[in-house]
């Protein structure tokens, strides 16, 4: 039972970051119909931005985090403006391949600039974990959980409560009708991609200090983000949030009770199982291709 609770707590920490990754990806797919293969690279980018900010720039840990998120926002906006805007209206395969190209450039650029050796982001928290009964959690992980939950709440408030969010949702439902109602659809696309990118960068910046930072860290993160999005149904934000936590639970308990070597395989097996049983995802909307 103690072990069970410990796994549960670990899964919650991981799940928060996964949910951020998933929400970012599903937002971009749902609104822009772009399968974003730079998502993993942006996750890596967020982690390295955090690393640079807290080492080379000497910023405080709590200042470095918003710095990384804003850097992700800026990079996302730049990618949208240079690569996706000219390709608006191109078929989904073309944009997907262009995103793969951009992802390769970002990842190889990181490898070139920083080398392949893993880096550690210094943490300001005490090493001794917080112990509650039989469950212990490090202060850093606790902070990651709280920060991720806050960011998820902000994303929800932005999408459901703000004027920008309303314009996004309108564009999601029918971009032509939204444009006729005076929504600047081009701006919405840029804002969506930038927001999605910043969420991915935030996930990287949060998990970076927990693990280590290396150029290929985004590969697995990207595939997991796809898993989460499929689990929740493409384009569903609440689905992606739940999907993130479900994936984290599956990984944590799979690693704890089945085999730690196959920890990362859990997500993929879940995707395959979900698609076989219910191809529209667990929390599907009506619309689907094929």
């Amino acid at each position: 039972m103690d072990q069970f609770l410990q796994h549960l707590v670990n899964a919650m920490v991981l799940g928060g970051a996964y949910a951020l990754l998933g929400i970012g990806l599903t937002l971009i797919f749902g609104i822009m119909n772009v399968v974003n293969f730079t998502h993993g690279a942006l996750y890596t980018f967020g982690a390295y931005a955090m690393f640079i900010a807290s080492t080379a720039l000497g910023l405080n840990f709590f200042v470095a985090l918003p710095f990384a998120i804003v850097a992700g926002l800026a990079l996302g906006a730049a990618i949208e403006l240079t690569l996706l805007r000219p390709l608006r209206g191109a078929d989904i395969d073309t944009t997907m391949l262009v995103m793969i190209g951009a992802g390769i450039i970002l990842q190889s650029g990181t490898l070139w600039a920083f080398g392949g050796v893993a880096k550690a982001i210094p943490s300001p928290f005490p090493d001794a974990p917080l112990t509650l009964g039989s469950v212990s959690i490090s202060w850093l992980r606790l902070f990651v959980l709280v920060a991720a939950a806050t960011l998820i709440a902000v994303a929800y408030a932005l999408i459901n409560g703000s004027r920008l969010g309303r314009a996004m949702r309108a564009t999601f439902q029918d971009s032509d009708a939204a444009a006729l109602m005076g929504v600047n659809v081009r701006f919405i696309y840029t804002a969506t991609f930038a927001l999605g990118s910043s969420l991915s960068a935030a996930a990287g910046a949060l998990l970076g200090p927990v693990y280590v930072v290396f150029p290929q860290m985004g590969d697995l993160a990207a595939v997991k983000a796809f898993a989460i999005v499929i689990l929740g149904g493409l384009g569903s934000i609440s689905g992606a949030t739940l999907g993130g936590f479900i994936l984290a639970l599956a990984e944590e308990f799979g690693a704890g009770y089945v085999s730690s070597g196959y920890r990362d395989a859990m997500g993929f097996l879940i995707i395959i199982a979900v698609l076989l049983a219910k191809p529209t995802g667990l929390f599907a909307r009506a619309e689907r291709v094929g």
Binding site: M96, L97, A102, S108, S259, L275, V289
Partner: protein, 345 residues
């Protein structure tokens, strides 16, 4: 003109080892050629059925492991008591087993994943490749995991009446690669020109319409996936016996990307597409190597991919086709146009 191009290119490629003595360049051609075979197989799916498989390296890797294990032999326990012991076979049998095993995997994956299309299919194929990589990494008893399978024997080919030949030199391996590539090209060309090929293209253009005239969508796509996987498996087998060492890194996503770049830049849905793309991206690392680090080369890869998609979204081969067609039209229309002008004056 375009009719005679493939045999001319084949003859030119066959002459390459006669004047190309640099082992490094020959090695680059063999490696590039092996991935070109993979690209030819990917083109069958991506170019003709329109389904983008981003897990194609799984079939390549499965072929490599199947061939290596068939040749090396193995001894694994299943569920504790049952042991499967296999003594090593002839490398050529390894190639055949690789084709069969990869083809069977392609059939099963196609059967399961063609319930979904588009972005879903892409993601399922990525997941499949990732699961296979993790199995190769963790099933240490069978695959040696990260320690890699080593000392894989070189390919041996028996000729009737001439005895058996072990492929030791680079030139011999080059000809084996070229033979398999040619075979793969011909198989895809025959398939595409057949009734089956029309069914595939029909599904790509308009699935509902194709089904309404009696095309069995799932069966056609599944068979295409199986054939495509079988060819990729053959390429994997060549890889295993040429490099003589394989580890779970053969399943890296980057290799799938290499094949996709070859197909897309050359022209998906064109027979020459993967060959043109393979020649460019097979030789690009050699051309770039003196000037930049491997990471920088990948940056160039990514940039070239984006540039090609922006400038020639359909790839190089269709543009060359148009160019040839334009010249042919200009030649045949010139004599016709003249009398008209004279008649007017």
């Amino acid at each position: 003109m375009t009719r005679y191009l493939p045999p001319i290119v084949l003859v030119l490629l066959a002459l390459a080892p006669l004047w190309l003595k640099d082992p490094y360049l020959l090695n680059a051609l063999i490696t590039g050629g092996i991935f070109t075979i993979g690209a030819i197989s990917l083109n069958l799916l991506l170019g003709y059925t329109g389904q983008l498989s981003l897990g194609h390296i799984a079939f390549f890797g499965i072929g490599a492991y199947a061939s290596a294990l068939t040749t090396l032999g193995f001894d694994v326990g299943l569920f504790g008591d049952i042991r499967i012991v296999h003594a090593g076979w002839h490398p050529f049998a390894g190639l055949l087993v690789a084709i069969l095993v990869s083809g069977a995997c392609g059939y099963v994956v196609g059967r399961l994943s063609f319930r979904v299309r588009g972005a879903y299919f892409v993601i399922v194929t990525i997941c499949f490749a990732e699961v296979v990589r993790l199995v190769a990494l963790n099933w240490i008893e069978l695959t040696q995991g990260p320690l890699a399978l080593t000392s894989i024997p070189q390919m041996k080919i028996g000729f009737p009446g001439l005895g058996e030949m072990t492929l030791r030199t680079k030139a011999q391996n080059y000809y084996l690669m070229l033979a398999v590539a040619t075979l793969a090209y011909v198989v895809v060309a025959r398939l595409v020109g057949s009734r089956f090929g029309r069914a595939m293209r029909g599904l790509k253009e308009n699935e509902q319409l194709a089904m309404s005239v009696g095309v069995n969508a799932t069966r056609t796509l599944t068979v295409a996936a199986a054939i495509s996987a079988a060819i990729a498996g053959a390429a994997g087998s060549l890889y295993a016996h040429y490099f003589r060492i394989i580890d779970p890194d053969v399943f890296l996503f980057a290799y799938t990307v290499t094949m996709v770049i070859m197909v897309v830049s050359g022209g998906k849905g064109a027979l020459a597409g993967p060959v043109i793309g393979g020649l460019i991206f097979g030789t690009l690392p050699v051309a770039l190597r003196p000037y930049m680090a491997p990471e920088a080369q990948w940056i160039v890869y990514g940039a070239v991919l984006i540039a090609i998609l922006f400038v020639m979204p359909r790839g190089i081969a269709p543009y060359l086709d148009d160019w040839f067609a334009g010249r042919a039209a200009a030649r045949s229309s010139a004599p016709v146009a003249k009398p008209q002008l004279e008649g007017q004056s």
